[in-house]
């Protein structure tokens, strides 16, 4: 590898965008080239500095209001009940025709409920980001967050600390999915928020074995463990959310 090549590829190395083979090649070159090694160190420093500074701009309130006004929905949200009954009516219509067409009653009825739960999960996630209501209990300490749920829910969700594994615990809150109270644990991955909803599995009863999927651009992971149903949602990539699930499950087992 020439220095010219390395000086481009080292950026992909810094950004974690190189596959293992290329990363090794760049690292080999850098190990034997003091100039490229120095460039790597300086660019890492530059990147750190850029990332730790707040370089974002906040959209002005007036602009936000203008855009909201331009979207043809009343600024106040459609009341939950109305929207749900509307959706149910709509979904039921679809379900009925599907039943008529296929006769597979069980699956169709199940999937209508599945969609409703997923819809609620997405809405709850978005609400948590929008309304400055991310957490009721704000703490990075698992021993503060876990007892907070006592008496508020009939279940005690595991609250592992995953900070060293790249997922920082931000806190927890009480939320509602499908009209039932659930625990919401909030983790952060870089600038991205992960909401993890936990409830007794009969309260979030969905067709089993769905694993990961994408809904409205969000990654969703779900799993069941010891009578608890977990649904994680975030705008991070599907692989990263799967990594979160793996680490959460491993840590939850060892903390029990």
């Amino acid at each position: 590898m020439t220095c010219e090549e390395a000086r481009v590829l080292l950026h992909a190395l810094i950004d974690g965008e190189l596959d293992a083979g290329h990363a090794r090649e760049v690292e080999n070159h850098i190990a034997n080239c003091p100039e490229c090694a120095s460039a790597l160190a300086h660019y890492q420093e530059l990147r750190q500095t850029l990332r730790s500074a707040n370089l974002r701009y906040a959209a002005p309130d007036a602009l936000r209001s203008r855009i909201e006004a331009a979207i043809p929905v009343p600024a106040t949200r459609v009341p939950m009940q109305t929207r749900r009954s509307l959706l149910q009516g709509f979904a039921l219509g679809t379900a009925m025709s599907a039943i008529a067409a296929t006769g597979i009653v069980f699956f169709v009825v199940r999937s209508v409920q599945d969609e409703r739960i997923l819809g609620d999960v997405v809405s709850a996630h978005l609400r948590s980001l929008q309304a400055e209501h991310l957490t009721d209990v704000l703490s990075t300490d698992q021993h503060t967050v876990k007892p907070w749920f006592n008496g508020k829910l009939p279940v005690a969700p595991p609250v592992p600390d995953l900070t060293t594994q790249g997922f920082t615990l931000l806190g927890g809150r009480l939320d509602y999915i499908d009209g039932k109270p659930v625990a919401a644990l909030v983790y952060r991955r870089r600038v991205h928020i992960i909401n993890l909803f936990v409830a007794a599995s009969q309260n979030l009863d969905r067709a089993p074995g769905r694993g990961g999927e994408m809904i409205q651009g969000f990654s969703v992971q779900e799993w069941t463990d010891q009578g608890l149903r977990f649904i994680a949602i975030s705008d991070i990539g599907a692989d990263e959310l799967q990594e979160f699930r793996r680490k959460f499950e491993a840590a939850a087992v060892s903390s029990n």
Partner: protein, 198 residues
Amino acid sequence: MILAGRRRSDRMRDTRAMKGDVHDAERARRFRDAALPHLDEIYTLARYLLRNTADADDAVQECYLRALKHFDTFRGGAIRPWLFAIVRNVCRSNYARRGFSDEEPSEAALPLWVEAQETPEAQVLRQRDEESIRKMVSELPGQFREAIVLREVNDLSYQEIAEVVGTPVGTVMSRLARARAMLRAAWLAAEKEGGDDL
């Protein structure tokens, strides 16, 4: 333009059945839930691309109107790259319409590394306040500015940046490399000139 859009959608609505209304409301709700949370990020890109508050306001508003209009063409996946691509196109066409040309230096002519003239200690970048970092980013040529903002400020992957700007991933990588080289050079130059004043 907004008015015309509304009138047309009113006409369309009149001819639609009840089911169409339900669909419209549901679609608008989905759009609102999916797109509005990213407003600050979209605005951030527009601010860096246009370097002007009023222009950025207009571009972002137009971006959201266009995005809503074409929401049916958005087929799942991550919505951020889709929105970034729209706002980028709006910024570019507005810029062109107003007679600006965003001159792009030839990529190959740009250095990948600028050796500092001073001792190794002087190569350590002095911490700068956010305003001066923003200014340095703003002064990069357009294609490098958008690459660095999408990567470092909005945290997109190379693949996502490639989708937004419509280039191969390799081009994204080499633009980022040159953008960082230019930033570093600007940083060193500022240190040499202003010392602690900046």
